[in-house]
């Protein structure tokens, strides 16, 4: 009798979603009505501090059938905000975070799912955290990117003002 081989046991580590992702997603959905309309969802927060956020194309279409500039911007400004929020929470700081100014470049049309990534520069982040601890407020520059077909489609550079909560 030929025994049927059972499938090998997959011993790779299951990557669990960072628990703060759920808190951030819940905050966005509860407090920013546009988040539901955009269909924004947190994909992951990686070990090296990159936040990835996605949104489907359908609710975010423009007159050309590709992603609407306002949707691309909104996903970026949320991802930047979330990145700052994550970094400060992990540094043990509760702070109000507000975007002060930003620049966005649209190099290619996005014709599928919108996936945005953001990882604050570690040196800038360390300076902002130090300033926030010392004075109670600081500014934090972040850069977010959206790729399409392996190439950069959208680059967002924002400056967030952070103010320690009392």
């Amino acid at each position: 009798m030929i025994e049927q081989a059972s499938p090998p046991c997959d011993t790779r580590r299951v990557t669990a979603i960072h628990p703060l992702c759920l808190e951030l997603q819940s905050t966005w959905f509860t407090e920013i009505p546009l988040v539901a309309a955009l269909g924004v969802e947190i994909v992951e927060y990686t070990d090296d501090g990159e936040l990835r956020v996605r949104a489907p194309l359908d609710p975010n279409r423009n007159v050309h059938g590709t992603a609407f500039a306002g949707s691309l911007y909104s996903v970026c400004v949320l991802t930047g905000w979330g990145s700052a929020w994550f970094a400060l929470r992990l540094a043990g700081l509760a702070a109000q975070i507000v975007v002060a100014e930003s620049r966005i470049e649209y190099r290619k049309a996005v014709a599928g799912e919108i996936v945005c990534s953001c990882r604050p520069d570690p040196d800038s982040l360390a300076r902002s955290v130090e300033e926030l601890r010392a004075s109670g407020h600081a500014s934090l520059p972040v850069i977010c990117g959206i790729d399409t077909n392996g190439k950069r489609a959208v680059t967002f550079a924002g400056t967030y003002v952070v103010r320690r909560e009392k």
Copy 2:
């Protein structure tokens, strides 16, 4: 018998909404799903070429209870696009309009209705129209503003690429 005076006839001209406003509003609502979520509505297109667009605060709230940065940006990028669309249509040109890059500054929180105004600089517009007629494509810079309590709250500067439709 005392005759009762009839009210004087009001002979002031009734200002009608520009017919292209209805076409623009319909295009936005039909082809950009996020427009309904934002609650964007065209207020008017004035005789001197200013487009005014509004959106209510409620669907556009952020975690602080004021207008979400992504909503403010979306209203601006639509108003800028609409301004370019209006100017080109009035010049007898049908063109594809795409935002290429933009910068936005948030100086004050917007705690009520979002009202955005945009009027392309006449010289820049004339140059863009001339270039579009000559080469089939051009870039058009526009500036949009959102005020709150009579002061500038948001300034948006965008560059749109326009390409003549064949």
